[in-house]
């Protein structure tokens, strides 16, 4: 028989066997599909995890901050514009009102072989990946194996473009890289030990004067999982690109940072030909599946789009933010 636990403090929530629940937008469906069984540790009554605060010049998002709050928060919009744009484009208004930072980072893949009754795949404890040999129209084009479902967290794509630190109660502090590992164990969605709780993320200091954009390539206008998504953050000094961060999602079972693209941007003039040359290498090193080669073209286009869009944005404010009252 399933049980529900409603701990009333963070300490009480730690060390429990079961799956934590924040907004429930992912877990509720997985419960119905019996992909999640056993105890649910509902964080409803755990205080202190739903605040957006400045801490030592860095913006901190509590794990229970909703995506709607991230998208609408004036400091996020002003200082971390790519993150705000990313959060605003996820799912639907109804879901963004409930979905949380922690839940979005730790949600399970959306693969259509996984999210169905009687799923039999690596993620659900089976021995093979039916998408790899079956219909993988929406799957990875950087085949990092063994599971080929794209990483589902748009927020992770955006956070990878920032020097984000993941705070975990009951475990060490993580980076996104250490949070997700190398994806070699398809059974795991993340590397947190049982009983630990992701409590928040620190975004790193804002980059004064940055220009940033988020691009989500989809068929429909809204409310759709991305075929490819790109976050670009650029800092232009004089007419030279001083700093560049380009991360992509929808293309691999992890969010990826495109170092080769960044390398072709940094130190170059902020001109169209620079962006074109950099975007051209966006899919270098990709290993598409039989049905996902189209994503390479799409990825190059989306990276170019993000770079162009970023340079069209007004730079973020130069002055350091006033620390918020605590």
């Amino acid at each position: 028989m399933t049980t529900l636990e409603l701990p009333t403090s963070l300490d009480a929530a730690l060390g429990r066997a079961g799956e934590p629940r924040a907004g429930g937008t992912d877990l509720t469906e997985r419960r119905r599909l019996h992909l999640s069984k056993g105890t649910v540790i509902d964080l409803r009554d755990v205080p202190g995890l739903d605040a957006v605060t400045w801490r030592e010049g860095q913006l901190h998002l509590g794990a229970l901050v909703t995506l709607a709050a991230v998208a609408e928060h004036p400091d996020v919009r002003a200082r971390y514009p790519a993150l705000a744009a990313t959060a605003a484009s996820v799912a639907t208004p109804q879901i963004r009102a409930r979905a949380t930072v922690g839940g979005n980072l730790l949600q399970h893949v959306r693969c259509w072989y996984y999210r169905r009754p009687g799923a039999d795949c690596l993620k659900s404890g089976g021995s093979g990946c039916p998408a790899r040999t079956g219909d993988h129209l929406f799957h990875a084009c950087f085949d990092l194996g063994p599971c080929v479902a794209p990483h589902p967290s748009s927020l992770a794509t955006a956070l990878l473009a920032h020097d984000v630190r993941i705070e975990v109660a009951g475990d060490r502090e993580h980076t996104l890289a250490s949070l997700y590992g190398d994806a070699s164990d398809a059974r795991r969605q993340h590397m947190l030990p049982p009983g630990a709780l992701l409590t928040g993320v620190s975004l790193g200091p804002p980059l004064a004067g940055e220009q940033a954009a988020y691009i989500r390539a989809t068929s429909r206008a809204r409310a759709e999982w991305p075929l490819v998504e790109v976050v670009a953050r650029l800092l232009v000094a004089g007419d030279q690109i001083d700093t560049a961060r380009v991360t992509v999602g929808g293309v691999a079972n992890l969010p990826l940072r495109l170092g080769a693209v960044e390398a072709l941007l940094v130190g170059k003039p902020a001109r169209p030909e620079t962006l074109t040359a950099a975007a051209a290498v966006a899919a270098d090193g990709a290993k598409p599946l039989a049905g996902t080669a189209y994503k390479l073209d799409l990825l190059r286009g989306a990276v170019l789009d993000a770079l162009e869009r970023a340079l069209a944005q007004p730079p973020t404010p130069a002055a350091a933010p006033a620390p918020a009252p605590t």
């Binding site: 049980t3 509720t28 208004p93 959306r110 039916p130 409310a223 075929l227």
Partner: protein, 941 residues
């Protein structure tokens, strides 16, 4: 069957549109009642429950709930607030939107425990009792709805936007995109989006702060019940002691049933009975095929019981898709003559006997005309290309699912041993009641089928189907009311689909652009179903041209097709109307002028003249004018469709001191049946439509038409006119008797030398009057005489579609910017509703062209697009700007001068989009849907 058979009945007839496996056409129904059904296992002492305190619509509540419960279950079942609808079950459609502390959330993904110490508002609580929220008023007045099933969710989400917008912007009007962004979490399958946007814009700018005037508050007769959540759909029916039925489905696409034993399941507490749905068959032919159903106290118990069924299937190799079925040496899906007879009928009509060759059934070529001339014309141009223009190509389309937002649903209740009342989400209360009576051996007047509100149909709910068979038989065997509701994944599996097509089409003109012939061979993937014809519809187009047309079914181990709004139409017009445009390009002719050369059809010719007069058309840019990233193009396509008449259709008017009641055993699936009846009767008498009480959705009323095959308006309007005129004439006579002088009928009553006496005054002292109007045949008869109580009319209705698109050549996305729709379907009875229906058809066409695609695993045949997240119907941001123009001339010989347009309007949009993409980019698409990957590939060459 291994379980002991305690009750058994052999039922007659066949199941239209459903699946019969096995080798017999005389299905048997085997069912069993649990020995001693134990009480409910839920909410016992050892099952933990969670105490909640919260307010619902302003009222404080305290409840203990099962911790696994969702807010949706709590709201609908525990609180009985059924305005909140379950549809997709995973947060994609917004039909379950509720306000949590004034913020819209999806109740289906909200754990019930999250309500603790929060404020919950449902559609029922948006306004004080008896009053309306400004957004509700706007939805009524702007006709922002059709079937109404999604409406409460939209209204709830829009009310939050309204509040926020007005707080920040006062009376400023939000633009369309702002509204679309706020409502991106709500889907409407009828696609009443244009009205929704308009309603929200107007409400948010303060246009509906005051109560609506006395009359008319809304162009749609039943709008108020739909915007308030009061409209009760089949899924909302809750009878005392009602059980929940769940269906066990095959996980395999091809299997032999070795053993089914439900005895362990029946022994579980809370389980009441089971029914076999294989009807004696032993072969599974698609993944998701129904095997049996079990009724239990609730859904979870029924699901647990399904898991306890001992099911032994011998898994066999499956053929998924047409290529596998056509491959050399592919074993036949239907190996024998008897099994072929059991293939489900994917068409609307009776199946004609056709030959089989392995998995190919056909050719169906009865409707070729001068086929040798057509072939010669094509062949000649192959040999001598300079003699004219030959356009040849293969055009492919995908499987499209009906996916009405109210799933197939039935609640059956035996009120006596020989009498059953069936609440059913159906497009035909009358015909289904007859089928139930026949199958269960009941007198027709002992079967009552009720469907007050139906959450969309689109052709998928036209006949007696297995959810109804299961519910009726489970209710019979258990002696309790039983409800069976399909989940979204089931709905997307067996709820209905438009077959995929491969159409090889050739079109030959002479050097001057006169049509010499069309040849077409179509191969249909209706899964394991047969009868999907598309090329026959070419006979509706360019009538003088010779045509060699043939259809084949390619049967394979996939769910069977069903008739879907304009069956066969969108695929064949996708092929034909693009080929015509290619010919126009080669001839360097205006595509409209070329069509005028081809086309003697008077309805379409009126539309050509309208389109030629449009500024949009006159001032269109040359092809491929844009060379940058975003390229715009304008495309046009036309379509033609039958109208149908159901000769048995009746409309009864009862009049007396209590008023005027018009009734018929028809139903309203969002098409506006109630409104059409009220408008027509009111029009004859010159009174307000609201003064006509309309009763439908009940098979005990006089026979009415099925709401399908574009027949409702054409069948009912003449019957309504006849009955209303009889009433009018009777009251004229009565006035003469009372007044002693002859009067004349004027709007509202009878004028006589001394003044006017109203109908109401005349009826005040009248004995009850009853008149039954019938549907008289059209002048000159029909195209074909009535068969199976349906006759195709003599005239072909016309639609013309212009679409302006923008193609993003970088990200492969196509955006529809604007569409202009011309409709020639005679007199429009209810213009606001007709416009909404036409736009809905266009938007469904946009979905077909750009997004919708049912996908199966290529090896196992398992459904991959099992939810509305992966099966992508158009959203409110995908529609562009739309307008509809009715050209109402013609149809003088049609009784009532009104014909249907529901199917007509959805035929041409995909082809118009194809032509627009080619006009924008030079890429001539051949395969649907036009996904970004295909667009990028097409543009790069």
């Amino acid at each position: 069957m291994s379980p002991p058979i305690s009750r058994r009945g052999v039922l007659r007839g066949t199941l239209g549109g459903t699946v019969l496996v096995g080798e017999s056409c005389a299905p048997k129904i085997v069912s069993e009642r649990a020995e001693a059904p134990a009480a409910a296992p839920v909410a016992t002492a050892d099952s933990p429950s969670q105490k909640l305190e919260f307010t619902v619509n302003g009222v404080a509540r305290a409840l203990a709930v099962d911790p696994e419960r969702t807010a949706l279950e709590l709201v609908r079942s525990d609180l009985g607030l059924t305005g909140c609808k379950e549809s997709c079950g995973h947060g994609a459609c917004g039909a379950c939107s509720v306000l949590l502390d004034d913020v819209p959330v999806a109740a289906c993904l909200l754990p019930a425990v999250a309500l603790h110490r929060r404020r919950l508002t449902t559609v029922e609580g948006l306004a004080p009792a008896g009053e309306l929220h400004p957004v509700q008023r706007a939805f009524m007045a702007e006709d922002a709805l059709q079937c109404g099933f999604c409406t409460p969710g939209f209204v709830v989400a829009a009310s939050a936007f309204y509040r926020r917008w007005r707080a920040e912007h006062g009376n400023a009007e939000p633009d369309r995109d702002t509204v679309a962004a706020a409502l991106a979490g709500n889907l409407c399958r009828c696609a009443a989006y244009d009205g929704i946007i308009r309603a929200v814009q107007k409400a948010s700018s303060g246009a509906y702060e005051e109560p609506l005037g006395p009359e008319p508050a809304a162009p749609r007769y039943d709008a108020r019940d739909k915007v308030t959540g009061a409209a009760r759909y089949t899924v909302d029916v809750q009878l005392p002691d009602q059980l929940e039925g769940k269906i066990l489905r095959s996980p395999h696409a091809h299997a032999r049933v070795r053993k089914v034993d439900w005895s362990r399941a029946l022994a579980l507490p809370g389980v009441f009975g089971a029914v076999d749905l294989l009807h004696g068959g032993t072969t599974i032919r698609f993944a998701g095929q129904e095997i049996l159903a079990i009724a239990a106290v609730d859904a979870r118990t029924a699901e647990a019981a399904l898991a306890a069924v001992d099911l032994d299937l011998e898994v066999l190799p499956a053929l998924i898709g047409m290529d596998a079925a056509r491959a050399d040496g592919a074993p036949p899906v239907y190996p024998t003559r008897n099994t072929r007879k059991s293939a489900p009928n994917a068409s609307e009509g009776p199946l004609l006997p056709l030959g089989w060759d392995g998995n190919l059934r056909g050719p169906f070529q009865l409707f070729s005309t001068a086929k040798h001339r057509a072939r010669r014309a094509v062949q000649r141009l192959r040999e001598q290309p300079a003699e004219g223009v030959l356009v040849e190509g293969t055009y492919k389309t995908q499987v499209q699912c009906h996916s009405a937002l109210e799933p197939h649903a039935c609640v059956a209740h035996w009120t006596a041993a020989d009498a059953v009342t069936v609440y059913l989400s159906t497009q035909s209360v009358h015909a289904v009641a007859e089928d139930i009576a026949e199958r269960w051996g009941l007198r027709r007047d002992r079967v009552r089928v009720l469907a007050q509100y139906i959450g969309g149909g689109f052709g998928g709910k036209a006949t007696l189907q297995l959810e109804c068979v299961a519910a009726v038989e489970l209710a019979r065997v258990t002696g309790r009311p039983v409800r069976v509701v399909l989940e979204r994944r089931e709905e997307l599996t067996t709820g209905g689909l438009r077959p995929a097509q491969e159409i090889e089409l050739a079109l030959a003109t002479d050097r001057d652009g006169y049509l010499q012939g069309v040849t077409a061979r179509a191969f249909a993937d209706a899964g394991c179903g047969v009868g999907s014809n598309s090329t026959v519809l070419l006979r509706l187009m360019y009538a003088k041209a010779p045509k060699d047309i043939a259809d084949w079914d390619v049967v394979n181990h996939a769910p069977p097709g069903k008739p879907f709004r304009g069956p066969g139409g969108p695929p064949v017009f996708w092929a034909l109307e693009q080929a015509v445009d290619v010919a126009a390009e080669r001839l360097e002719l205006d595509p409209i002028l070329l069509r005028k050369r081809f086309d003697p059809n008077p309805a379409r010719n009126r539309l050509y003249d309208w389109a030629l007069s449009l500024k949009t058309w006159r001032e269109r840019q040359p092809a491929q004018s844009d060379r940058g990233r975003h390229r715009r193009g304008l495309g046009l396509a036309v379509g033609g469709w039958f109208y149908f008449v159901q000769p048995s259709a009746r409309l009864q008017i009862d009049a007396g001191p209590d008023g005027i009641v018009a009734s018929t055993a028809c139903q309203d699936i969002g098409n506006g049946t109630r409104t059409v009846i009220a408008e027509t009767v009111a029009g004859v008498l010159g009174i307000a439509p609201a003064d006509v009480k309309v009763q439908i959705g009940d098979s005990s009323l006089v026979p009415g038409p099925m709401t399908g095959g574009s027949r409702t308006t054409a069948s009912l309007v003449p019957a309504a006119i006849m009955a209303a005129e009889q009433l009018r004439d009777e009251l004229l006579e009565r006035a003469e008797q009372l007044l002693g002088v002859k009067g004349v009928a004027v709007p509202g009553g009878v004028r006589h030398p001394r003044g006017v006496v109203t109908w109401q005054q005349l009826l005040a002292g009248s004995p009850p009057l009853r008149f039954v109007g019938t549907r008289k045949r059209d002048q000159g008869g029909y195209f074909l005489p009535p068969m199976y109580d349906i006759a195709p009319g003599r005239y072909v209705a016309g639609a013309l579609q212009i679409v302006e698109v923008e193609v993003d050549t970088r990200l492969g996305r196509i955006r529809v910017l604007r569409s202009h729709t011309g409709v020639a379907a005679g007199h429009i009875v209810a213009p606001a509703l007709a416009r909404s229906q036409a736009m809905g058809g266009v938007i469904q066409g946009i979905g077909y062209a750009l997004y919708e695609e049912r996908r199966l695993d290529p090896k196992t045949g398992a459904l991959l697009t099992g939810g509305l997240e992966d099966y992508r119907i158009p959203g409110i941001g995908d529609i562009g700007e739309l307008d509809v123009n009715f050209v109402e001339d013609g149809y003088e010989r049609v009784n009532g001068r009104s014909v249907g347009l529901a199917e007509l309007v959805t035929l041409a949009p995909a082809a118009a989009i194809g032509n627009a993409v080619a006009h924008a980019t030079g890429f001539r698409p051949r395969e649907l849907p036009l996904r970004p990957d295909r667009v990028l590939q097409g543009i790069r060459g």
